[in-house]
């Protein structure tokens, strides 16, 4: 399995370098091959990590928890790579070289993060995702992209500064028990548990939630997120929303494991509940009234990150399993929604939802698929998000968190109305005047439809009958989070 892990750390990086240095024409194919290869490598890793931990010294580590996040990222990397082949049609060679370098390195850093065996290396991987994705946000070279990328790099880097401070306090706590030459390895820190001094661990956890929470998009440190998601090229928006936010949440979960082992679950759960409810409240209100389709989806991402935080705060095994499933289902659904929105922006040559009308008819494939994606994000059955949110609410009720579970249901319902109102306006409403310019019926590219079909299939699979191996992975990951594995 070490070979598989090393391959995951090498393949996307080499693909990115070759795309930049080689001719531009094969770059799309090479990136698709790299994406599919990485997805295959992660699938090969799953049976092993569903039953135990594999690693190398304290540098590399893969367990069920990291397996879930690897799966989400690798699936989205492959799907978006296919989509990008259509999206970049007509772009210059220079643009494509730069794009594919950044895209592959971005995917590499996101795949590397869950494989890191220590909190320090995890921080470095996530910092690399920031600097690379900031350049990808800026790549369109527009006023909006320049503004969004500056806000993103400044706010996210400042947040990661706090996360680094969290890492340093975690080291201090670990050094009191494991000696000064301990190296922030995740396993020994969790095992040290109650022997760790409480104050530094408490501080480290709070700083990690605030610091990595900046990248997750938790309120009140979410302000970069709608700007960056709306101004980035659509394939990058899909990766940012479906994979990067989750990868940053993974870092919080590692601190959660350490904090739960050292302090008990009360304090970490309360902190996550507060951030989760605040994020969900903000997002469910801001989804209303958005005019830019990508900002609209960005606020939906804040909503779903809030749901993840609330789910972890419930602590019941079924809620934690729901959180793990939600990571996978949100990656597929949000990737789909952004890819669909990208087709709309190309077709209508605008990001303004009011100018997008009659989409169900104008885009015979992407219109219905976008509707399905939005319904999936709204937790309609039989999508995986329905199943995961059902599990999270059930976990909340079973753990006695009645008020929080009720708040979750109410706010998710509010967000549903916001999502449904805007999406149906785009898809079903006719142009206000018959003479208004409406694009001809047809799809811009088949490359931009195929990965969305795959995403819908995954969502249905996750909602109706997740494969046995995946269920084992999720169950073990939930047990690890709950401290019972």
């Amino acid at each position: 399995m070490l070979g598989v892990m090393l391959a995951l750390l090498v393949v996307p990086l080499i693909a990115g370098i070759v795309c930049f240095l080689g001719p531009a024409r094969p770059a799309a194919g090479l990136t698709v091959a790299s994406g599919i290869a990485c997805f295959g490598l992660v699938l090969a890793l799953i049976p092993e990590v569903a039953h135990g931990t594999v690693g190398y010294l304290s540098y590399l580590r893969a367990d069920a928890l990291s397996g879930v996040f690897l799966l989400a990222t690798a699936f989205l990397y492959a799907a978006v790579a296919v989509y990008a082949a259509g999206y970049l049609h007509g772009r210059t060679d220079v643009y494509r070289r730069r794009f594919y370098l950044g895209f592959n390195v971005f995917a590499w850093a996101m795949l590397a993060a869950p494989l890191m065996g220590s909190l320090a290396l995890l921080w470095i991987a996530i910092e690399i995702t920031t600097v690379v994705s900031a350049l990808l946000v800026a790549i369109e070279d527009t006023d909006g992209a320049a503004e969004a990328s500056w806000k993103y790099v400044l706010i996210a880097s400042a947040g990661l500064g706090l996360a680094l401070l969290a890492t340093i306090f975690a080291y201090y706590a670990g050094a009191q028990v494991l000696g000064v030459h301990s190296n922030l390895a995740i396993g020994p820190l969790i095992q040290a548990g109650g022997r760790l001094p409480a104050t530094p661990v408490r501080l480290a956890f709070l700083l990690a939630v605030l610091g990595y929470g900046t990248k997750v998009g938790l309120f009140p440190v979410h302000t970069w997120l709608p700007d960056a998601h709306s101004e980035a090229p659509t394939p990058v928006s899909a990766l940012l929303s479906g994979a990067l936010l989750a990868t940053s949440f993974y870092a919080i979960l590692r601190f959660y494991q350490v904090a739960s082992a050292a302090l008990g679950t009360g304090f970490p759960r309360d902190a996550l509940l507060a951030f989760g409810i605040a994020s969900l409240l903000l997002a469910s209100l801001y989804v209303f009234g958005q005019r830019d389709v990508k900002r609209f989806l960005a606020y939906s991402s804040v909503e779903h990150m809030g749901i993840l935080a609330i789910g972890v705060s419930f602590g019941a095994p079924i809620a934690l399993a729901g959180v793990m499933l939600h990571v996978l289902a949100h990656a597929a659904a949000k990737g789909n929604a952004f890819m669909g929105a990208g087709v709309f922006t190309i077709k209508y040559r605008t990001k303004q939802m009011l100018a997008m009308r009659d989409g169900l008819d104008r885009l015979p494939w992407s219109g219905p698929l976008f509707l399905l994606s939005v319904l999936a994000l709204s937790a309609f059955p039989p999508s995986g998000i329905f199943r995961s949110e059902f599990q999270i609410v059930a976990g909340g009720l079973s753990s006695g968190s009645y008020v929080a579970a009720a708040a979750l249901i109410v706010l998710v319902t509010v967000a549903f109305f916001g999502l449904a109102t805007s999406a149906t306006g785009m898809l079903l409403t006719s142009p206000p005047e018959p003479s208004a310019e409406v694009p001809a019926r047809g799809e811009p590219s088949a490359w931009m439809v195929v990965p969305v079909l795959a995403g819908v299939a995954v969502l249905v699979l996750l909602g109706v009958h997740p494969p046995g191996e995946l269920t084992e992975l999720i169950t073990r990951a939930a047990a690890q989070l709950g401290g019972t594995a």
């Binding site: 220590s118 600097v131 909006g144 680094l164 340093i168 080291y171 201090y172 050094a175």
Partner: protein, 224 residues
């Protein structure tokens, strides 16, 4: 309580000097002077690393001090001057108008932030001979002032320098409470900083080319 030892005394003095330089950066209107203050602050980090290496017999820290000096005292200021110093200094000698508040108000608020950071970090109760609580509390004050610098200045250069000085504050915290962190990880942190500097520089240059100024006053199109 007895008087502090050489290490604790040196750590406290260096931390206090770094905090004063942080206030200098906050007050300074010229970019090149801000960069100089940053380089001086970074040099103090290396001095502290050497003191700790000698006092606690941690030879790794000598290498870290050298690497840190090479990167933060030489490379980062050089990159900053190259990326934004020369072409801008000919047209715009500084960014004196970049305050969102008057300089006096900014300094007063920063004093409040520093006091908050000092007392909140000081009250953590992290007391042992290897982690002087005063230096840690001053590092906490620096973190808050660096955030203040990023917020009260309305130009990309000062905001970037605010971030780099935030990193210095975190380095100070690391030296005080985590001096034994393996060299490999410390080195990785430093190269990560270099990567961030390059990306910050590229985005600053792109902003300058587009807006023909360093001001962030016009970065207000994306709202809601």
């Amino acid at each position: 309580m007895g008087s502090p030892g050489v290490y604790a005394g040196a750590a406290n003095v260096i931390a206090a000097l770094m905090l004063l330089l942080e206030f200098g950066m906050l007050r300074q209107a010229l970019i090149r002077d801000q960069v100089r203050l940053y380089a001086t602050q970074s040099a103090l980090i290396s001095v502290l690393a050497i003191v700790i290496a000698a006092d606690r017999d941690l030879p790794d820290l000598y290498a870290l001090a050298a690497l840190s000096a090479l990167l933060k005292v030489v490379a980062v200021p050089l990159v900053l001057r190259r990326l934004l110093g020369r072409p801008i200094s000919e047209e715009t000698p500084g960014v004196a108008g970049s305050y969102t508040l008057s300089p006096a108000s900014a300094v007063l608020i920063a004093i409040g932030l520093a006091a908050f950071g000092f007392f909140s970090f000081g009250s953590l109760g992290i007391h042992n001979p290897e982690a002087p609580a005063t230096a840690l509390a001053i590092a906490g004050a620096m973190v808050f002032v660096a955030f203040g610098l990023m917020i009260v200045r309305r130009d990309v250069a000062s905001q970037a320098i605010g971030f780099f000085s935030l990193e210095n504050a975190i380095s100070l915290s690391a030296l005080v409470v985590a001096a034994g962190l393996p060299l490999l990880l410390e080195t990785a942190f430093l190269f990560d900083l270099l990567l961030a500097v390059v990306v910050f520089g590229m985005l600053i240059r792109a902003h300058h080319a587009r807006a023909e100024s360093l001001s962030t006053a016009d970065l207000t199109k994306l709202r809601g």
